[in-house]
Amino acid sequence: MTSVKEPPATNKPPVWKISAWRSMYPGMWSWVLQRLSALALIVLFPIHVMNPYIDSVRITMLLLVVWHAMHGIKVILTDFGFPDRHQRKLFWVLCVLGIAAFFWLAYMHTEYWRFMA
């Protein structure tokens, strides 16, 4: 097997080192948390489908879906020309809207189940 010439060693802190995460800005957190929420949803969704009556799973899924959607909306808006200089504000505004949406939907959800019962 022929050996491939090694590229010059690039200065890159490994992901498990805190120094690799210190330079993260809100936009990066938005992306990381959106990815993590997607992974969590992949795990939770089959559980939810198998047994839709677990309250903790339902509420967690609601939280994750809202979070995932809010940051998806951020990317869509910026993709379609939302001014970049306001992207940080957009992040915080969507965070606040997401939290509000979560509580409102959670409230509606509890009311719905109370009504159904």
Binding site: P8, N11, S23, Y25, D79, G81, Q87, R88
Partner: protein
């Protein structure tokens, strides 16, 4: 080995006080001012060393320096090099934020050494070479991968025949100029490239600076490479690799938004593709024929 406290005289150079005499001959034996001289605050500078072929052991060396008002990280580095560690390697040129040569990581975030003041950085300042670049030695990095990608994105103007004959008239208020304007001030310091996590993940990714440059040229009516350049940069390792994390935008010292440029390239690729597809339907031929 360098942990001992040695105070640099060069720290005084940045003060600009009459006593400092930056451009005068050193005045010997001035006893009175020395006695009166009050103790200046000191900071500890932790500098990542090594990484070169002759000095492979990577480590942090600490140096204590006296600070003065308006002192920058570059002043601190010069002070360390001239008074404590002559072998310290770092790169700088203009000292006034024009060339972008002195980019490094200050307390974990990429910045220009010459435009970053010590005030507000704390009592211990950590200096590291830029991420995503091969380290030549200490704080000096090899910029060649960065410029190779600039070349791959064809970061130069290929003039149209009309532009070669006569100077183009592009009005300041025109749509073309307004599109290019916010992206044109790049001085290729590499800070966006160092802050981009996607460059760290995919070494073939063109990176924010090259894509930003491509965006200015794709929108330039004097440029003849238009579609060819767009196809070159809108690939898996080009604009489509960007995940809109905005690290480059947040860290650019010139206030440029390479993420915005990349999004502009994506929009252009999509609208161009849709137009060609629509045209092909009407013509009854496959796109590109």
């Amino acid at each position: 080995m360098n942990e001992e406290v040695r105070v640099s005289e060069d720290a005084q150079l940045s003060e600009g006080t009459p006593e400092s005499g930056a451009h005068e001959e050193p005045v010997p034996e001035k006893e009175e001012p020395e006695e009166k001289a009050e103790k200046r605050p000191t900071v500890r500078v932790r500098i990542r060393r090594g990484g070169a072929a002759g000095d492979p052991e990577e480590r942090f060396d600490s140096f204590e320096i006296e600070t003065g008002p308006r002192m920058t990280v570059l002043d601190a580095l010069v002070a360390v090099q001239s008074a404590q560690e002559p072998a310290l390697s770092f790169r700088y040129s203009c000292r006034v934020g024009m060339c972008g040569t002195c980019a490094l990581k200050v307390n974990g975030r990429p910045a220009w050494a010459c435009r970053t003041r010590l005030e507000g950085l704390g009592d211990e300042i950590t200096l590291e070479p830029l991420t995503n670049f091969p380290v030549l030695r200490d704080l000096a990095v090899d910029m060649s991968p960065f410029f190779a990608k600039m070349k791959r994105a064809r970061g130069w103007l290929e003039p149209t025949s009309a532009a070669e004959k006569a100077p183009a008239l592009i009005a300041p208020g025109s749509r073309e100029r307004k599109r290019i304007e916010p992206h044109i001030e790049c001085i290729t310091c590499g800070i966006c490239y160092a802050s981009c996590s996607i460059v760290g993940h995919d070494s073939d990714y063109l990176g924010p600076a090259a894509l930003n440059r491509a965006y200015t040229l794709v929108n330039d009516s004097r440029d003849a490479l238009g579609l060819e350049r767009l196809l070159e940069v809108c690939t898996e390792d080009g604009a489509w690799r960007c995940h809109s994390q905005y690290n480059c935008t947040e860290s650019c010292p010139k206030g440029i938004s390479p993420t915005g440029a990349i999004k502009g390239l994506k929009r252009r690729a999509v609208t161009g593709g849709v137009k060609r597809f629509a045209a092909s339907i009407f013509r009854g031929r496959a796109p590109g024929e």
